[in-house]
Symmetry: C2
Subunit: 270 residues, 2 copies
């Protein structure tokens, strides 16, 4: 019905895992991805700066005539989701809301944990949404070293296990039965996180949840595209060579010539 | 003689250790610091992006009428030092050159090691300068997790030691007698690096070296300021509250009301 693309943005390459899931569930949709690799990471920055960058990213996607925007970055979703919804007149979907819905549905004990970047946890957004869903037992903790560990490829060594043991200590021994992986990089550490947490804790990866939510939203608004094979375009604000090399690993397929450099300077109005 | 300030820029707060050393050696100089905390870190980004950011930072400092610029960030010094020297008509001093001079003077075996961010090591700048000084036995390695460890404050625990053992393995057993700490954050890990390397390896911290080099350069060009007490101003591109809190630890003094937000958007010409 509506051939305009869906826009997806992330602070870097991690959101490609979200694009991958969306592509599996909605193969006919055209997708435009923007990774703000020149300013990554967002997780250690202030709310004001994260909002400014998120607005610029969304303006860029709007210039590509998108019919909806998926905020694939948890930090941006937490800090800027509400501002974006007020500022732009297309549906804006955040990974945070999707992850919370999934977690609430899965938890039996009603004790839910959240891990994410410092920016995501400090925003209090996960806690607010969980409380709004009736959850009262919430434990959250920032895990700043998980992103550099995932990017270093140290996902299953002694260092990763030691770091996971320190960060995850508050979630052990029945403290929670569900743990939201509140950062697109964390699924790369899912094995070691699962090992440290033990079998009694369900790990929530928001990528699947946001894909389903997007599908529902497009159908409800009669915005879905029902014919043809979806095209994908990838934009990055830093070196496209590096993004192509590392990103293909996150995406699970080769991005080759569909990768372009994005210049955001014309979208940084004040 | 010349009351104009000296400009110092870094990708974040780490360069405050350099400002601190300059202040001790040149207490009469007025100093203006710019920390690009909204875009930190530079170490994982491409050379083109690092050059663009460094040019913008230098334009900002020039707008404050500086008489010289110290590039306190190793990554920026490696990637952009030569471009800055060609583009601006004030002396541009980089921490890299200062660290190399110090290391060459200290090494007895002529075997010198360098550790730094991925961007610094990939630039090959340290190796080129060391070779230019006649050093032929050079070992270099990126240590991406050292910056997040320093920022997390995990400078002396089991994780830090395990990470240091992995990264520093190529430098042990007499492989080098001098190791350049090629990142402003690494001196915070000096204790654990020294423990892993053992007593036979001299660790080079470039902050002292660059302060001495700046002093020589100002005297030689009759640019020094000989009277009054130097004033200091601090600018950051991200939240000044956060910079003030964390930065005071790096600086060793309270920055209080001398901290201001810097808007670089007017300096991002193309």
């Amino acid at each position: 019905m509506d051939k305009r693309p869906v826009g997806i943005f992330d602070s870097g390459i991690g959101g490609l895992t979200v694009l991958h899931e969306i592509g599996l569930l909605l193969p006919r949709e055209n997708l435009v991805y923007l990774g703000d690799t020149a300013r990554v990471p967002y997780g250690t920055k202030s709310t004001d700066t994260i909002i400014r960058y998120s607005v610029e990213n969304t303006r860029f996607l709007m210039s590509k005539d998108v019919k909806a925007v998926v905020v694939a970055c948890n930090t941006a979703s937490a800090a800027a989701g509400d501002v974006l919804r007020k500022s732009f007149d297309v549906p804006i979907l955040g990974v945070i809301e999707a992850g919370v819905e999934e977690a609430v549905g899965r938890s039996k004990s009603g004790k839910i944990g959240v891990i994410g970047t410092a920016g995501t946890i400090q925003s209090g957004k996960y806690e607010a949404l969980l409380r709004g869903s009736g959850v009262t037992k919430i434990i959250s903790a920032p895990c700043p070293l998980f992103v550099p560990l995932a990017e270093e490829g140290w996902t299953d060594n002694k260092v990763a296990e030691e770091v996971a043991k320190i960060y995850l200590e508050p979630f052990l021994n029945g403290a929670v039965d569900t743990l939201i992986l509140g950062c697109t990089h964390y699924p790369l550490l899912e094995k070691i996180i699962g090992k440290v947490c033990g079998g009694g804790v369900a790990l929530i990866n928001s990528a699947n949840a946001i894909a389903r939510k997007l599908s529902d939203r497009l159908s409800a608004s009669a915005l879905q595209n029902d014919s043809g094979a979806g095209e994908r375009k990838f934009y990055f604000t830093d070196s496209i060579e590096r993004a192509r090399a590392v990103g293909s690993r996150f995406l699970g397929e080769n991005m080759d010539s569909r990768v372009q450099l994005a210049d955001l300077s014309e979208f940084s109005r004040h």
